[in-house]
Amino acid sequence: MHGRTGEGGVDPIQHDVIVRTLDRRFTLRAPDRSVYEAIRYLDCTPDISGPAPREVTIAVESGRDYYRIVQDGIDIRQVVGTRAVVEYLHLLLFQASIEDRPRTALLHAACLRRGRQRLLLAGSKCAGKTTFALRLLQSGYEIEGDEHVFIDTSGVIARPRGCRVKASALPILTEMAETIGRAPSYTDDANNKIFNVDPRMLGSTWRIEPGEVDVVIVLHPNHGGYSSIRPLPSTAMVQLLMAEIGLRETARGASIAALAKLAMRAKAFDLSLGDHSSALRCVELALDGQDGDRGAVEPHR
């Protein structure tokens, strides 16, 4: 996020929000404070390994009763209200992030590192990926992304995006709640407030790099209960992850191959996610390789 004054002091103060995708760096230029505060929800500036990104500037300009969204001098959209500005830019940036890897499947999973080890937390919506990822961050893990990874036969890379934390999760994240509560936010149609959290706000780093996965943990919520973990046969892991993967129309076979390769390389576990303290111990055991006999459970079709 950057504030800047126009050249010569003629232009009013403008505010920029920076959003990274893997290949591009978008500068979102807000015309006034209210738009700036709204689009800060999209702020995303991780350190991403690889070549320098292409620069793209998108300006939000005030009209009489609406906002114009302008890219490369072309008026690409007109919307009414700051909320509509956020929603449109959110969609545009999501599409741009996908276009960066047009033939690579997108897996619904949080991506973290512990030292040199990489861990994926997969699971359906509301499984608790982000909340648990933040709990892991508190224990020294580094979050690369909390929502998606691109997956191909060489490994994965997180799709850049800040952690999206629902206000309803703050009571669970007691020690971090105050800091998270200061993050930019957006309130959805159902009146749920969602914060956009940069892991650096919480004293961590935020670096995204491509690499192989060591452990995949499929989360199943057990809210209010205990946590337990069990090894998952690789065929069962592929089966479960198939429900969480977005296959690209032109490269479906390649995406299956990527999943199969992931199953070959990574250990997989099924985590019944209840209390976070015991879940944390379960993950530590999984990463330390104390996983018992992985071949003990017969796969099934």
Binding site: S234, M242, R252, I256, A257, L259, E298, P299, R301
Partner: protein, 89 residues
Amino acid sequence: MSEILKRAPDLEVHEVPDGYVVYQNKRDNVCYLNKTAAIIFEFCDGNLESDEIIARVAKVFDLGSSVHEEIRACMDALVKEGLIQSSTT
């Protein structure tokens, strides 16, 4: 008449530690084969008759004739899923 079994065309077979993940391009479908099913699938190379495959699989696992029906059921499932094709000679 004897029944010959062979792999269906247009399959992408990916080996994983506990079996195969098979993608059927035409049907845009994924099948998961455990180790036993993967071995049966491998024997279906178009050269062996079904009875011969059953005998060989039983021998691989050092099992008696009591499992022949189960092996036959697995082959039938592979045919039903379109992973192998059956022809009579």
